[in-house]
């Protein structure tokens, strides 16, 4: 087993929470370190607008 994987198993994990903040909050309340990454689906999840944006952005 590589040293890096051993470190991962021995140490406490740091979580990256993508999107909905509440999921990260419950991990934080359980004592874990959480890094929040704000993300939401393009155009708020509207597939018609997202398709338009594919050609423009």
């Amino acid at each position: 087993m590589s040293v890096k994987i051993e470190d991962l198993l021995k140490n406490r994990p740091v979580f990256i929470n993508v999107g909905v903040r509440a999921f990260g909050d419950s991990l934080r309340e359980a004592g874990h370190e959480v890094v929040q990454l704000d993300w939401s689906p393009p155009a708020g999840g509207d597939t018609r607008l997202a398709a338009l944006l594919d050609d423009l952005l």
Binding site: S40, P42, A43, D46, L49, L52, L53, D55, L56, L57
Partner: protein, 414 residues
């Protein structure tokens, strides 16, 4: 070149024109002498086009006030009849290189700030900012304020500005941002800087002493004096960015109290509208939520150029007018960067480590991030006949941006 590359190049050009703008106050003059296409028996108003029937209460009240101010009608009932009969033409300020606060009403004898963009040679105009007639109050007292502006203050300020050879506004605005203004509803520093700059010249213009004293008092004590100037400066700065083929940059956001409308550089001449939203904020004592009208005014031209909500993080003093917290204000200004082409090299915010204000709202980024701009604004009554009733924060309807994006796609990708 792919469409995406064309859009990016077009937006860079629109951005270049906006940041290159050099607004200079060159005059204060009667609207009839300077605003192109302003005819007799015509009222210019804020926002996208609107008919008398669909006009909101506050804007109707302001239009009645202008009929009385011009002497077209003897009383409010007669004015209402004339407006209802279509005897008075109604056109948006934005169709005349002009902007107006709240109801935004301008007629031939209303004096206006004249701002020239010396980088491009275009001019833009804005009327006096006050707390009564522009909110729909058409009482004798409200009209007396317009008459003093026409007869005393505006002619004196015009004389001083002409004697000065113009007042450069770019450096003044940059200094005011460092002093806690955001150039929309917080213009305390800019108003003082302007009054200080004009005062020594004003006393040397050969005007009657009473007029000079009255004008110095007006300029030195009006907390919203500079809003008319920042609006005209913003309009003069934005207009050269109109009509850049394939640009998705927003060139105007304006509201008439019935509809919110935006215009887009690559879709010149078109409006994209949705119902005006409700403003969330603080009401003056005695007023209730149900008294409030919907969002109104051309003053969101300040947000369009990168002031107002884009700069509110550096202006915590405004929060006693709009509500909210300093942390929220900082987040608003950061959000505006997410949906803009770039940041200003000249207009800097100390509270954000001297980052430039966001410039060039991009309809693609707004829709992609599902995030609309932030606007701070005043609140008018929903019925005619009242002055200001409050202030707050408002967000444009996303529908304006999605309609614009669909039309853009149809025009350029269809």
């Amino acid at each position: 070149m792919s469409l995406k590359e064309r859009i990016n190049a077009a937006n860079e050009e629109a951005f270049r024109r906006i940041v290159a703008a050099d607004p200079v106050l060159v005059d204060v003059a009667p609207a009839s002498e300077v605003i192109p296409g302003l005819r007799d028996r015509m009222i210019l108003h804020s926002g996208p086009p609107v008919t008398w029937e669909r006009m909101c209460g506050a804007q109707k009240g302001a239009a009645i006030g202008m009929c009385l101010f011009e002497g077209w009608a003897e009383d409010a009932a007669a004015a209402e009849r004339m407006l209802g009969a279509g005897e008075i033409a109604l056109e948006p300020n934005h169709h005349h290189a002009t902007v107006g606060p709240m109801a935004g009403t301008i007629t031939r004898n209303m004096w206006v700030w004249v701002v020239e963009n010396r980088a491009f040679g275009n001019r833009a105009f804005c009327r006096q900012v006050e707390s009564f007639q522009q909110f729909g109050d058409h009482s004798r007292d409200a009209l007396a304020g317009l008459e003093k502006w026409r007869d005393v203050w505006a002619p004196a300020l015009g004389a001083a500005v002409r004697k000065m050879g113009g007042v450069p506004l770019k450096s003044l605005v940059a200094r005011a941002l460092l002093m806690g203004d955001e150039l929309h509803n917080r213009v305390v520093a800019s108003s003082s800087l302007f009054a200080n700059a004009v005062a020594p010249i004003l006393v040397d213009c050969g005007l009657p002493r009473e007029q000079v004293v009255a004008t110095l008092y007006y300029a030195g004590n009006h907390p919203f004096l500079f809003l008319g100037l920042s609006m005209a400066a913003a309009k003069a700065s934005m207009d050269p960015a109109r009509g850049v083929e394939a640009s998705t940059v927003v060139t105007a956001m304006a509201r008439n109290g019935t509809e919110f409308g935006i215009q887009v550089s690559g879709l010149e001449g078109e409006w994209f509208t949705a119902p005006s939203p409700r403003v969330h904020g603080l009401l003056l004592p005695g007023w209730k939520e149900e008294d409030a009208g919907l969002d109104m005014g051309d003053s969101a031209i300040t947000e369009t150029v990168g002031w107002g909500g884009a700069a509110i993080g550096g202006a915590p003093g405004i929060l006693n007018f709009t509500g909210g917290t300093a942390e929220q204000a900082l987040a608003f200004s950061r959000d505006m960067r997410t949906i803009s082409v770039g940041t200003s090299p000249d207009y800097l915010l100390p509270a954000l480590d001297f980052a430039g204000t966001a410039v060039g709202l991009d309809i693609r980024k707004v829709v992609h991030a599902n995030l609309v701009p932030v606007i701070d604004t005043a609140i008018a009554h929903r019925e005619p006949g009242h002055g200001i009733i409050g202030g707050g924060i408002v967000r444009p309807p996303m529908e304006c941006f999605t309609k614009a994006l669909a039309r853009f796609s149809e025009k350029y990708n269809g």
